[in-house]
Symmetry: C2
Subunit: 228 residues, 2 copies
DNA sequence: GTCTATAGCAAGATAGAC
DNA sequence: GTCTATCTTGCTATAGAC
């Protein structure tokens, strides 16, 4: 007896509902903050039941995960034109940092709570967690492209580790941005400009013989810390 | 026991009650974790009412503040013998970093929650907050002594900024430690040994003429970020 | 599998009486 | 300063509709 199976639409009903809940939540987070936005209010505003919201998101924090993923995608999109425009390492790095902050900018007020959550070592949102490995790898790959698509030279032994180091620097920039209270986070923009220029110089100098021992020490340190 | 602006002697009834609540809370945090320890349980264990606990501590997080202050005092105490023992900058820095981690060690399991709270930009526990300025200044002064009591030389222009840079490095060490899952946090110990050796070398090299432009850039960056 | 409605728990936080 | 009673909210549970 053949059952008349209903073909699934490209975007299922469930995915639409999920998206509706996420969008509502992120908007409310932006407008009134994370703590002030209750799950009850999100459900009411999205026109679904509380139970339905929890059907798609196991916890309120899980809603932040969606934000995390959105930002990841936005960063790649914002960085693309930069990487297509210049071969200068300093320009590429600076542009890629700025691109990330551009994507984050509308959420600055909310970002403190987001960061607080992600900062906890056991959180799945933590940048070093296994759950965020795909996002992390994508981000590191972006920074690999920043260097490898450039005309810069570097101490060859440092080359393999550079993308990860740049990614960690980017985390540092975000950390700075989260705490930046200057208008429009202007200090973060300044910080990016100055610090990327510094990194650019350091990379160039890394091939100097006097600095070789330093590079070696750095590599050794990294190797030790990666070892189990 | 040094009693700086951090811990005044306790005499009045209110202060006794406050101290009782803090001590009970910190002990319970150590023994069963932060989340697992409810305000009800703290109050019960301390023999006071929940309302009374909230009379002294506006929130559960505020109890962490006491931990913060205790650790500050302990760090200074642990570092003293190190600074009395050697004039070598590398040794002094390494020893001072280890001293801080020694003080923190019993709280490693609990530290993730602590860090999460302190990481929030608006938190009074934040290392950069105005509320924690006294503790911050005491800590920076410690690192000033680390360098100035040593036999090391440095690019004179960097000299004034070094204590603050070392203090920030120390924050980085704590950040590393919080996330260190290795047995006894052995990786943190390794990280301290290797990274302080690196910093020691960098400080020595800072007087090389080739590196002057880098120092200048760094100083300029710091000056810009400090400016209002 | 998707969704509603509702009841209820646990724990952080508060109000108001004494 | 201290208490008891109560509120709020994240989250769960259940029972059922489509």
């Amino acid at each position: 007896m053949p059952t008349a199976a209903v073909a699934d639409p490209v975007t299922t009903r469930g995915e639409l509902t999920k998206r509706l809940i996420v969008d509502t939540a992120l908007r409310m987070f932006r407008e009134q903050g994370y703590e002030q936005t209750t799950m009850r209010a999100i459900a009411r505003e999205a026109g679904v039941s509380v139970g339905n919201a929890y059907y798609y998101f196991a916890s309120k924090e899980n809603l932040i995960e969606a934000f995390y993923e959105d930002m990841q995608v936005e960063h790649l999109a914002h960085a693309r034109p930069v990487l297509d425009a210049s071969k200068d390492f300093g320009d590429r790095l600076r542009g890629t940092f700025h691109a990330g902050i551009d994507a984050l900018a509308p959420y600055h007020a909310f970002a403190g709570k987001f960061f607080k959550t992600a900062a906890e070592p056991t959180s799945p949102l933590h940048p070093l967690s296994s759950e965020s490995e795909p996002a992390r790898n994508a981000s590191i790959a972006l920074f690999r492209e920043v260097f490898e698509g450039s005309s810069a030279k570097i101490d060859p032994e440092l080359r393999d580790e550079l993308p990860e180091l740049l990614w960690m620097s980017y985390l540092g920039v975000i950390l700075f941005w989260v705490h930046d209270l200057s208008p429009e986070q202007a200090k973060t923009r300044l910080f990016i400009d100055k610090s990327t220029a510094l990194v650019d110089k350091l990379v160039g100098l890394s091939r100097l013989r006097i600095l070789r021992p330093l590079s070696r020490d750095l590599l050794e340190l990294i190797a030790d810390l990666k070892a189990d």
